[in-house]
Symmetry: C2
Subunit: 305 residues, 2 copies
């Protein structure tokens, strides 16, 4: 099991030559999820050699430009690349109008269906699941309706303990799936072999929580408790906590406090305000509260195993 996060952009507000707005690519259980899509994201996807054809689900935290202005360009490029698969877009109510208005006015169309999943709840909700993964919203508190997203592997099948199984010639290959599913095995003599003696526990499911623009909001802690990796915005240092409050953003210290309260394994921070030149100050401020903090930097890849 593994989870791989690529940072495509990690800065706030206006894009600059070396400061791309928020976008991340998450590989989890054979899915390739795009999270937020600021202007220029499609070029960043090319730069980091993402497989466009594997992106079938896009999650948009909120409709501020630095998180969504790149979406219409990507949607248009998918058409030029002759995509045919459904594209699922999860985002705040209004995202459908945002995209369809632009398609209509540019007299464009897509060669594939777009399925919009418009969000408007203020409670965490399951918005996607298949056999192996589930995605929940993390309602945040920003100047506009905003969600973070919790990506979680489901608990997998138990692993066969071949050393134990080989002692019983009665157990055949066709029995393996029942064992993986946790069922006990009944021998011909009537004796029951408990499942635990024939299998090993499944790998621990991994989880990633993406907490986009938000004021300090400790009530998200139960939703993101114990995740393996937490991204939390840190737009300001604590010297400008006043600005964080008025603009409904967080400081590096506040991001670290959330990580500590939620007892996560690792914290990654980003969405730095353009007023700061030295990003290391963000890391050191956060590490005073939560040592396992790293900086989101364009092109950084974080793998969790």
């Amino acid at each position: 099991m593994s989870l791989k996060l690529t940072i495509l952009g990690c800065h706030s507000a206006t894009p600059r030559i070396s400061a791309h707005p928020t976008a991340q690519l998450l590989e989890i259980k054979n899915h390739l999820f795009l999270i937020d899509c600021g202007e220029g994201t499609q070029v960043q996807l090319r730069k980091y050699k993402a497989k466009f054809s594997k992106i079938k689900r896009i999650f948009i935290s909120h409709l501020h430009g630095d998180h969504v202005f790149g979406l219409i360009g990507l949607v248009s490029t998918f058409r030029l690349l002759n995509h045919e698969m459904e594209l699922h877009i999860y985002g705040p109510k209004g995202i459908k109008e945002l995209i369809t208005t632009q398609l209509r006015l540019s007299n464009s169309y897509t060669s594939y269906p777009i399925i919009f999943h418009e969000l408007e709840s203020n409670k965490s909700e399951l918005i996607f699941e298949d056999k192996k993964v589930e995605v929940f919203t993390i309602p945040l508190d920003h100047r506009i309706y905003t969600n973070g997203f919790l990506f979680r592997e489901k608990i997998g099948e138990r692993k066969l303990n071949m050393k134990a199984i080989s002692k019983f010639s009665e157990i055949e290959i066709c029995d393996y799936q029942n064992l993986k599913n946790g069922r006990d095995f009944k021998l011909n003599n009537g004796k029951i072999l408990p499942n635990k003696e024939l299998t090993l526990p499944p790998p621990r499911p991994l989880s990633y929580a993406f907490c986009s623009d938000t004021t300090f909001k400790p009530d998200i802690v139960p939703t993101i408790k114990n995740v393996d990796l937490l991204y939390h915005e840190a737009t300001f240092l604590k010297d400008r906590e006043d600005l964080a409050i008025t603009t409904k953003h967080s400081t590096a210290e506040q991001a670290a406090k959330i990580a500590k309260l939620a007892d996560v394994s690792e914290l990654i921070i980003g969405h730095y305000s353009g007023r700061y030149n030295n990003l290391n100050d963000f890391q050191s401020e956060a590490q005073q509260i939560f040592p396992k903090t790293t900086l989101a930097i364009e092109g950084k890849i974080i793998e969790v195993n």
Copy 2:
């Protein structure tokens, strides 16, 4: 007098790492005009150190994404830069809805007024003028309503011929403006000095024609006749004239034919399809018809004096 054109992007369709979509910056008579605004244009403006604060008028040829998807980002960035001046946007009917819908859905506003000049005529029309410059549309023929733009200096004042003037002590400084305006001078003895004996002709006014996406359309020739610099799209080489016809674009040869028919001083071509690796083929194809052809290349600056 001079005219300075900076190529910010010159490729068609989807933006790639080293292939930015159409955007140009024109300096003419103390104006800084932005022409088209594909995704990423604001970053290109920074890269080439454009003075954002001097951009007060933006001209959009048509609403296909590779010419306009960067506009909402630029409009938003102007707010972050605390612009207060009016911003004039000239473009096809629908451009106001395109921008205002995005501002509304992102719960954003601008700190300055945007004046939209929506175009829908199929005849060339004067859309801006002041004392020194005038801008006309050049109706084109593409898959969607599209205009090129003709930027033309007005004829300036006549220049004082100081050597001739100095012979007449009766002519005082307060008379100079009348002379510049072309008026004759009456001496005290009643004799008339013709203006031409006291002044020199004004500098020749310069002109630039931007012909964005269009099929081969010779009927634009009278509008762009004798311009100093013509940009004409050349999406394909003549080997794919069939594609040029179906997509309503032009070949390099066709761009050159327009330049020759209009007897322009210099031609610049761009909007290359991504299918071609060697841009020099565009130049050589065009130069067979019109030798003074150059390629639009990102960062190229063309000055006309």
